[in-house]
């Protein structure tokens, strides 16, 4: 893959999307039998599986917190998820993503209800194409709901990038690799509204005004994803109900 000459031609992006358009999203709930909650998501070419276990007793004992629940989040990329084989195991990047994602979820999970226990969130990236951490957060969020874990709301995540001086929603690989800036968000959504930002990272450069625009653009995209997340969770109940009708 080499740097494209122009990212935006006739107002359209390399893959034909408009700047404020998301990639196609597919969400499936309860895909793993052994997990307490699970989710499979496709955001464009990203393919991610999330599994949630718990709350369960925390071992090793020293990680237990006598007053609240401990959240563990593991972001992992499969060796075959990228063009060049990724060396398996945690590296600097995946440890960092795990940490920031965990902190985002800690803000919405009602930790004080389950002292001494742990919730394990595992997300495996099967295929990566920019914005895999946002796909992982979206999947983990659905899996947590599916596991019946008490939460204040739902997290929805989306990234905004800047290419050719234009802000674009949900960047794909070319825009992420050769763009001027990249800014992933995770929003805490409650009562159908965005309440706060639970995760925000950035690399590259943006002006103050651009950041404000980026937030608005991300919010719009997040609400679209939120509706898809809701739909996916609700679907399992509607389908079963119709079979019996």
């Amino acid at each position: 893959m080499s740097r494209p000459d122009k990212f935006i031609v006739d107002g359209k992006r390399l893959d034909g999307r408009l700047p404020d358009q998301l990639r196609p999203i597919k969400i499936e709930v309860d895909v793993l039998k052994r997990a307490d909650g699970s989710c499979y998501i496709e955001m464009g070419k990203n393919k991610v599986v999330a599994a949630v276990y718990g709350p369960r007793e925390a071992y090793p004992r020293h990680i237990q917190d006598p007053s609240k629940l401990v959240v563990r989040y593991r972001y992992n990329m499969a060796p075959f998820s990228v063009e060049e084989r990724k060396r398996p195991g945690p590296d600097r990047r995946s440890v960092e993503i795990s940490k920031v994602s965990k902190e985002a979820f800690e803000a919405i999970i009602m930790k004080e209800l389950f002292p001494r226990s742990v919730v394990d969130i595992f997300v495996e990236v099967l295929q990566a194409d920019a914005g895999s951490r946002t796909a992982c957060i979206n999947a983990a969020s659905v899996a947590l709901v599916d596991a019946g874990i008490p939460m204040k709301g739902i997290l929805t995540s989306v990234a905004v990038a800047k290419v050719d001086g234009v802000l674009v929603l949900d960047p794909m690989k070319e825009e992420d690799n050769y763009g001027e800036a990249d800014m992933p968000f995770a929003f805490f959504i409650r009562g159908g509204k965005i309440e706060s930002i639970a995760l925000l990272q950035m690399d590259g450069r943006m002006t103050k005004a651009e950041i404000k625009d980026a937030i608005n653009l991300a919010k719009k995209g997040a609400m679209e994803i939120y509706n898809l997340q809701r739909e996916a969770i609700m679907k399992q109940f509607v389908e079963e109900g119709e079979e019996n009708a």
Binding site: G54, P66, P115, I149, G191
Partner: protein, 222 residues
């Protein structure tokens, strides 16, 4: 169709109504779990559709002995926390009788939750007429969130299964269910329990279950 709500869904603006499965922040009542929305005059609650068993005092539970210690047993109760059964709460205990002769690792027991301390250390008791060691019959495990449907309104579903199939049935709040009786009838009862688990969120379940039992009985006899 009953309404299914997700965490963070706004339920009401009257904090006095907040019941189980909800939380209050800034005068607003939100759902904290995925579940079925239920409203009465005095409160709003969300009946969970998923999730682990969270022990509460007075629950009848079925547990598996995991460890024998000097003053009692550690019992797995299918929840994030292990329960402790002290010797003093076991009527079968007599001086000179070894603890592992009463219950050994792997034994199943029906017990009641006696107390839970703020650090979620659960103590259970066998001092109740329903409590006993399980040495025969069958234990079926279901999602603990579906237990209320297996019991039914005021025990209607259990009564139906008992009267139609003539089997003994004890439903543990932790999602383990003990069935005992004629082998073929227990097999039907097991299917019924799984049916209820599968369709817990639908309406008119009791009627369908009754019909299902009669159909299965006819297949076996006819």
């Amino acid at each position: 169709m009953r309404k299914i709500v997700l965490p963070g869904d706004l339920l009401s603006t009257n904090p006095k109504l907040a019941g189980h499965g909800t939380y209050v922040e800034g005068d607003k009542v939100y759902s904290r779990i995925i579940g079925i929305y239920e409203q009465t005059d005095n409160f709003i609650r969300v009946i969970p559709l998923k999730g682990k068993y969270n022990p509460s005092v007075g629950d009848t539970i079925i547990g598996i002995v995991r460890e024998v210690v000097s003053n009692g047993w550690n019992v797995d109760i299918n929840s994030p926390y292990q329960a402790f059964l002290p010797v003093s709460e076991t009527p079968e205990a007599k001086p000179g009788k070894k603890l592992n002769e009463i219950f050994d690792i792997g034994d199943a027991i029906i017990a009641k939750v006696m107390s839970i301390d703020p650090r979620m250390r659960v103590t259970i008791t066998m001092k109740d007429k329903i409590c006993r060691a399980i040495r025969f019959g069958r234990i079926v495990a279901i999602n603990p969130a579906r237990v209320p449907r297996v019991i039914g309104k005021k025990g209607s579903m259990i009564k139906l299964i008992k009267s139609e199939l003539d089997v003994q049935i004890v439903v543990g709040q932790n999602g383990l269910i003990w069935l005992n009786g004629d082998r073929r009838k227990v097999a039907i009862a097991e299917e019924v329990v799984y049916l209820i688990e599968e369709e817990a969120h639908t309406e008119g379940l009791t009627d369908r279950v009754g019909e299902f039992i009669r159909r299965r009985k006819n297949v076996q006899t006819g």
